[in-house]
Subunit: 188 residues, 2 copies
DNA sequence: CGCTTTATGTAGCAGATGCTACATTTTAAT
DNA sequence: ATTAAAATGTAGCATCTGCTACATAAAGCG
């Protein structure tokens, strides 16, 4: 591998670490440079411009998130257990920074400004694929529909968690499980 | 009413209009001043500082949203119809700017920075109350639980809409309605 | 009318931001 | 060793940021 490319990746990784915990909208060249233990001048040497840095950093972060999600590849859960699992995962301090950043990028994507749109959709799709892999539909269930429902509920729970409505999260999940159990009772 | 106060409210209204459609993080004093057809100097005369402007503007906007939501006070919907209603409401171009702004504020609230935290929670609660008012639980339903579930699903749908996954929105709603109908089928 | 308070204009400061020009050192290739 | 190329340092520019000092104009009030 190119020496230049290696160094660029090293910088990218350090900046990604910073951005993940401090957000991207306030990340100026000088702050990024500090985080990477270098100067803004050097960043301009290794990257085309600021937007180039952002693209590479966000891409790196979204790949990290994919790896994180794919950690438990063996995990396979039914609808009910998936909900309970998600409720815990949202609290996971390793995952939260990614959710925060995704929030930010999702907002920045308003107005179709790149690279935010692309990154946002990539993360969205990764997440969806992860659900498809983990959620194991029962034979009588409409898998695609319930997977989409789990996606929606997960996103909703993330929002509720952010606005400090943890009690409603619990209530909503209980409501969902109640309906699910009731539906299953039909052909029990 | 005080003349000073009147003028301040006029400025607040004009800035609110701007912020609603352009976001708040990029709204500098000079841009706000342009939007209000005045100078930054004048803004500092009528407001304490920038944070004072933001607080008043965001408060005004969240009250606007409440009015918007309360437009159809007579509306009362069952679980099923509520879902269908929400699916349409999210597309409503009058409502979208508020959802966008709420997204932004929700992110800005990370780190407990005022006035964002307060505004965010106020809007969240207004929205919840609105659901409580519109959603009419059937006699055999656990109202609070299903209301919370509708809240979560609504928020989730908003996110999906933002990341251009409208097809999954439809699928998720179909899934939810399917489960609901199935659950209801028990006691027909 | 005179006088005090209020409203508005003009300039600018001090810091941050993205980026660049210019110079120098270090490394690599012949 | 010579020389071309790559890496790094130092300064700074132009713009934007929140905010202020200092002035003048206008409006209200006796």
């Amino acid at each position: 591998m190119d020496k230049f490319e290696l160094k660029r990746q090293a910088y990218t990784a350090k900046i990604a670490e910073y951005v993940l915990h401090h957000g991207i909208s306030g990340a100026s060249l000088r702050k990024m440079a500090d985080a990477a233990a270098t100067s803004d001048r050097m960043l301009m040497h290794y990257f085309k411009d600021k937007s180039d840095i952002e693209t590479r950093v966000l891409t790196a972060i979204s790949e990290e998130l994919m790896d994180l999600l794919n950690e438990n590849l063996a995990l396979r859960l039914g609808f009910r257990d998936f909900l309970l699992f998600i409720r815990e995962a949202i609290k996971d301090q390793r995952i939260k920074p990614y959710l925060n950043l995704w929030f930010e990028v999702t907002h920045l994507a308003t107005g179709n400004k790149e690279p935010y749109v692309t990154v946002m959709q990539e993360i969205g799709k990764s997440f969806e694929q992860w659900i498809d892999r983990v959620y194991a539909p029962a034979p009588d269930e409409n898998g695609p529909q319930l997977a989409a429902l789990l996606f929606v509920i997960t996103e909703g729970l993330v929002v509720l968690d952010r606005i400090e409505m943890q009690d409603r999260m619990v209530r909503a999940i209980d409501g969902m499980i109640g309906l699910y159990d009731q539906a299953k009772g039909i052909r029990g």
